[in-house]
């Protein structure tokens, strides 16, 4: 199979660096170029010494590499519409970060432009390529638990805003400046915007959509942020499944400009745990564990050394397969729309202090 000529764009998203090894190792790909949002993003990119040229203009990148077939858009949420349009208008396949946009009119524009261009647009919800999640899907589909009655899940991390400042900017993360609630000095765009995974998984595992939600924020752990960092959401799905989600930035961090060892203050900087109660049984699942542990350099703190998980390998395999074999990715724009709608409903509930019917 002819390798897919691929590039990256933006280089300001927190997941940017996770692609480097996979793009280099996978023989189904030829990673030919990158294009950084600005000089600072380019400088950070160059710390990783990928050997792949980095430009500051997408047009210039395409002039130098006119055979680019696909682009990973690794940028702030507010940049996605423009960058998707750039790719779609040139027939370039798109791997989008997990939040295409929170503006549903923009979202529908994206769907229309991608479908008109006939390009693959895969959404990066990498948990689908996690081996524990694969087992979880098999157990649920196998019916051993029976019909799912309840799901509780965490998608909790440290806050990445010090390394990726756009994630603390309401305009760049949520797309505009919307107060969380009357009298609340904070704005939409924080932890909720960073953590769509368990919402997506709940839809995937149950085959149902969200029916209603009540969400509330807590006092921020980081009072200097102007976006929310702690929240909870509970409600029901269309099949009656009860859910409770925690998508917070509840693990404190060292305020590093570039992610590095010693970033975490709490030993485990990222957790996706799922509890499922079915009619005939129950399970508990840690999607990122067990691991290896240490209390060595640089801070001598007890630390989880993430050991087994590299979701980007399977994610990129699917992307290439969809491009070469004209398939639709399992997580595509149309599938993901209802997850984004749900996240907006969480914000509506936070604003009103009332449950929201979806």
């Amino acid at each position: 199979m002819k390798p897919v000529k691929i590039a990256m764009m933006g280089m300001t998203h927190g997941h940017t660096r996770k692609y480097y090894q996979t793009l280099r190792d996978n023989r189904k790909l030829a990673w030919v170029a990158s294009c950084a949002e600005d000089q600072e993003a380019k400088d950070i990119y160059e710390l990783y010494k990928t050997g792949v040229p980095c430009y500051l203009s997408a047009e210039r990148m395409l002039e130098e590499h006119p055979d680019i077939e696909a682009i990973v858009i690794a940028s702030a949420n507010s940049r996605h519409l423009e960058q998707m349009a750039f790719c779609a208008s040139r027939g370039i396949h798109i791997l989008s970060m997990k939040i295409p946009t929170f503006d549903m009119a923009e979202y529908d524009q994206m769907v229309a432009m991608v479908e008109k261009a006939g390009v693959v647009c895969q959404i990066e919800l990498e948990m689908h390529y996690n081996p524990v999640v694969r087992r979880l899907k098999e157990i649920i589909a196998g019916g051993e638990l029976g019909h799912i009655c309840a799901i509780q899940a965490t998608n909790i991390t440290l806050s990445p805003v010090w390394a990726f400042p756009w994630q603390g900017s309401p305009e760049q993360s949520y797309g505009r400046r919307v107060p969380l609630a009357p009298g609340d000095p904070r704005f939409r765009g924080g932890a909720l915007c960073d953590h769509p995974h368990v919402f997506d998984l709940a839809r995937w595992l149950t085959g149902a959509d969200f029916a209603d939600v009540f969400a509330q924020v807590a006092p921020n752990l980081r009072p200097d942020l102007e976006v929310e960092d702690m929240l909870l959401a509970a409600g029901r799905m269309s099949d009656g499944t009860a859910f409770l989600f925690d998508p917070s930035w509840s693990r404190l961090e060292e305020r590093l400009r570039v992610p590095a060892p010693g970033w975490e203050v709490f030993p485990k900087r990222m957790e996706v745990n799922v509890t499922i109660t079915g009619e005939r049984g129950m399970l508990q699942c840690d999607c990122f564990g067990p691991n290896v542990y240490h209390n060595g350099a640089p801070n001598d703190r007890y630390t989880v050394q993430y050991t087994y998980f590299d979701e980007w390998i399977g994610l990129i395999d699917e992307f290439v397969d969809c491009i070469r074999n004209s398939k639709t990715p399992q997580i595509n724009l149309r599938w993901h729309r209802k997850t984004i709608e749900f996240m907006n409903a969480c914000y509506s509930s936070i604003a009103s202090g009332r449950p929201v019917r979806i």
Binding site: K28, Y293, H294
Partner: protein, 238 residues
Amino acid sequence: MDIATLNDALGRLRAKYGLPQGAIVSGTPWPLLQLPSGQEIPLLRWRAERRFTELKNLLDGGTLEGVSTLRFATFRDGGDLLPLLAAELDLACHLTGSRIVRLYAVMAPGDRACNVILRLENGVSGCVECGVGLPPGTAPVDRHEVIARRGVASDRTVDTQVPQSSIYLWGEQGARTYTDTDFELYGLPDEGIWTVRAAYAILLHPELGDLWREAGCRCLEQAKAALKAAKQGETVEF
């Protein structure tokens, strides 16, 4: 382990990553990688096991400084103590980049458990508790801890005695656990995954072949010597 299944998996990795030819064949005590030249290399699968790779990275990368002591334990549901002990001895060498120069071993009555204290050439001390007395059908229990002047590292989390799992399931057929660690090789048993990864490592880095052959021979000889001395109450020098 079904060798054909392992070779199917290795074939997929070879095709995906453009690696040269090689096939996994049965061997004693461990499967071998057979190269087109006819060379055979023992698949020291623990050297490709991710938790040990991470432990080694913590040592090699300076996260731990001034390693003092290794504390290893491994227990299985039957089988031979020899390959079990040999693997642990080789792991001690692999993690520290040194070699064992002295052993003292004590065999338990019944020959189903053996305790070893070892010294590495670089001065590091260590011990291995190994046994084959778990009831049939019980999953392996093990623990590997590296104690240094700066930091302790372990493949088991603090305040636990047994390996943790990713999924705990309570159903009508009782409780079960699952731990899946490799998306590309999903569905293979753990030993199968690391055997395929070991073959992959050699095909990717052919220079490992000679090192692994030598290490495989040495750890088996040292384990044999340890088990023999375990009944005599004497130290063994290498």
